[in-house]
């Protein structure tokens, strides 16, 4: 998988309430509508500026807080190609993988990347290129890659359910 896009940069402890506010959490929404609320309470311009394939670079504990899956799906809906952070909150990490969103734990990119910088990610070789520098990252274990490659957990489950029949 190859991803190429511009960077949006945020700090530590970006929580699920600012990624996708609670006031919308129990309302059923289309993917287009989800996209308009992504990061609304942190960066109101984000959903207008973001382009398909863009990448979020963040500090530690990205996605902390609620289990709401829209924190991941709203970012998928607005075209985010990957998130590179120093660490992720665990439920957000699962939700991202389960929706086919690439989440990469890489501690060094944060310090040299700025907003709008161009970044390239090569998942097969486990490298991130930004500002002329190359950063390695550990590839996913096979069971996680299966989920990503299937385009999310439910696609994989669907395949398994219908394999036997």
């Amino acid at each position: 998988m190859q991803i190429k896009g511009h960077i949006f940069k945020y700090g530590d402890d970006i929580n699920t309430d600012v990624i996708f506010p609670g006031r919308y959490t129990y309302v059923s929404m289309s993917s287009e509508e989800l996209a308009t609320h992504a990061l609304e309470d942190l960066d109101p311009l984000f959903s207008k500026e973001v382009r398909k394939g863009d990448v979020i670079v963040a500090g530690k504990n990205f996605g902390m807080g609620s289990s709401r899956e829209q924190a991941a799906t709203s970012l998928v809906a607005c075209g985010i190609g990957a998130i590179i952070a120093k660490s992720f909150s665990r439920i957000f990490f699962r939700n991202a993988i389960n929706n086919g969103l690439l989440v990469i734990i890489q501690k060094d990119v944060y310090d040299i990347a700025e907003k709008n910088d161009l970044v390239e990610i090569d998942t097969e070789n486990g490298i991130i290129k930004v500002n002329g520098k190359v950063f390695p990252f550990s590839p996913y274990p096979a069971h996680l890659m299966d989920i990503i490659e299937a385009g999310g957990l439910l696609n994989l489950v669907k395949r398994k359910l219908h394999e036997g029949s």
């Binding site: 402890d13 309430d17 609670g22 129990y26 504990n61 909150s89 957990l153 439910l154």
Partner: protein, 417 residues
């Protein structure tokens, strides 16, 4: 027996070594108002039936009764789905229900040694009973309904030992906020926390639930407290299935052991906009608030209401404050009514709301306007969580909430001893 054979709680209950990925079939699967969204995902899988319809436990609590037509329609679809699937454990909007984490605890789902996964981040709460319980996403619940199996990574364990003799009016909330202030919001990221020490042993079940509930705010996967006689007495007459308590081996492999002496601490306050932005009450005293919220899955139990009532009894809520009280379940509501706790609170000027999550997640019943401040016994103070992104949320104990309601500004309850 060599050290390599000695196991932590999670290694035993999940049957795997730290770091290993295991397939798990839980005892119960929790969902709430998000069941509508999970149902939509489930139906897309192209199968008709939930694999084991005795495992889902569905509790309507997040926006009840429905605040508008969209919520009402969600609830209606959930009821229809529950009927179609013959789901046994459904708690609708009636006097058997309440907040999901309280309902699962008092109705005997939260059991020693049980595995409970739920589409809610505070699913960690059931660790107070010695269960393994962790939050998962909506897609994962849909997958569990279909397959009855999910992958989990066996986490490393951190042992948190709490000892000393807390001062009067220092509650579990102060203690856990103090710890979060020290280890920070990612202090236990991906980890299993085992709480122990004389303070935990002496705590009521309700207080232990405050610790395991707030473990989510340290980033923990799950939290655990060794079941003892109090636990076994609590679940004795209510347990929904047979259970076997699970205990860590002595000398097992903890990644870290953290010790806290809480003898000297004063009431603690988490300042906006992060739960780990914790300071001692002296730094917060005098901050004027517009609203006080006593309730939620963290601090809406009988013990919490009773302690708040004790502080406020015979006094008046400040005219500048809206003091909202939300019992965590209708069972608690009923007991608080019988014991006269609610009348004490009402006489003082509090507003008692129906049991549910209320304004905690910003959906209804007490939303904050721009520039307003609230002292809340809930578990999160993120920007915009309870309404306006320009509102401020201060997290406190029930005792501090009551003292703050009296004064209209954040106050130390210890002066009302």
């Amino acid at each position: 027996m060599g050290k390599e054979m000695k196991k932590t709680f999670v290694e035993k209950v999940l049957n795997g070594k730290q770091g290993e990925i295991v397939e798990v079939s839980p005892d119960f699967i929790l969902s709430h108002d998000n069941t509508r969204a999970i149902r939509d995902k489930f139906l897309k899988l192209g199968i008709d039936r939930i694999k084991d319809n005795k495992k889902p436990v569905i509790v309507l609590d997040h926006t009840i009764p429905a605040a508008n037509e969209k919520y009402a329609s969600n609830h209606k679809i959930i009821r229809e789905f529950v009927n179609e699937q013959g789901i046994e454990y459904f708690y609708d909007i009636n006097s058997k229900g309440g907040i999901c984490h309280q309902v699962l605890s008092e109705k005997g789902f939260a059991l020693p040694g049980a595995i409970i996964l739920g589409a809610d981040s505070h699913t960690t709460t059931y660790g107070a009973f010695g269960a393994f319980s962790a939050g998962i996403g909506r897609s994962e619940v849909a997958a569990l309904w279909a397959m009855d199996s999910i992958w989990l990574r066996v986490p490393e364990s951190i042992k948190i030992v709490i000892h000393g003799k807390p001062r009067p009016y220092i509650s579990a909330k102060d203690i856990v906020l103090y710890i979060i202030g020290k280890i920070k919001a990612d202090g236990a990221l991906y980890k299993s926390i085992e709480f122990s020490g004389n303070v935990v042993e002496e705590m009521s079940i309700a207080s232990r639930m405050v610790l395991t509930n707030m473990a989510a705010e340290m980033g923990a996967k799950n939290a655990y407290i060794m079941p003892d006689k109090k636990t076994l007495d609590y679940v004795d007459s209510i347990h929904k299935k047979a259970f076997i308590p699970v205990y860590p081996d002595e000398g097992c492999d903890y990644e870290r052991v953290l010790e806290f002496d809480v003898s000297e601490i004063e009431p603690q306050v988490a300042f906006p906009h992060n739960v780990d932005n914790v300071r001692s009450i002296e730094d917060a005293e005098g901050i004027e608030v517009n609203q006080v919220l006593l309730g939620t899955c963290t601090n809406g139990r009988l013990e919490d209401l009773s302690r708040a009532a004790q502080v406020i009894s015979g006094r008046r809520v400040s005219e500048h404050v809206r003091f909202l009280v939300i019992p965590a379940s209708w069972e608690i509501y009923r007991q608080a009514l019988k014991q006269g706790i609610l009348s004490t609170l009402i006489d003082a000027g509090a507003v008692i709301l129906n049991s549910g999550c209320g304004p905690c997640l910003g959906a209804h019943m007490g939303i904050l306007a721009k520039g307003e401040k609230v002292a809340s016994t809930s578990n999160r103070n993120f920007k915009g969580r309870m309404g306006s992104t320009e509102a401020e949320i201060y997290l406190v104990s029930p005792e501090t909430a009551a003292a703050t309601a009296i004064e209209g500004k954040i106050a130390n309850p210890r002066k009302y001893l």
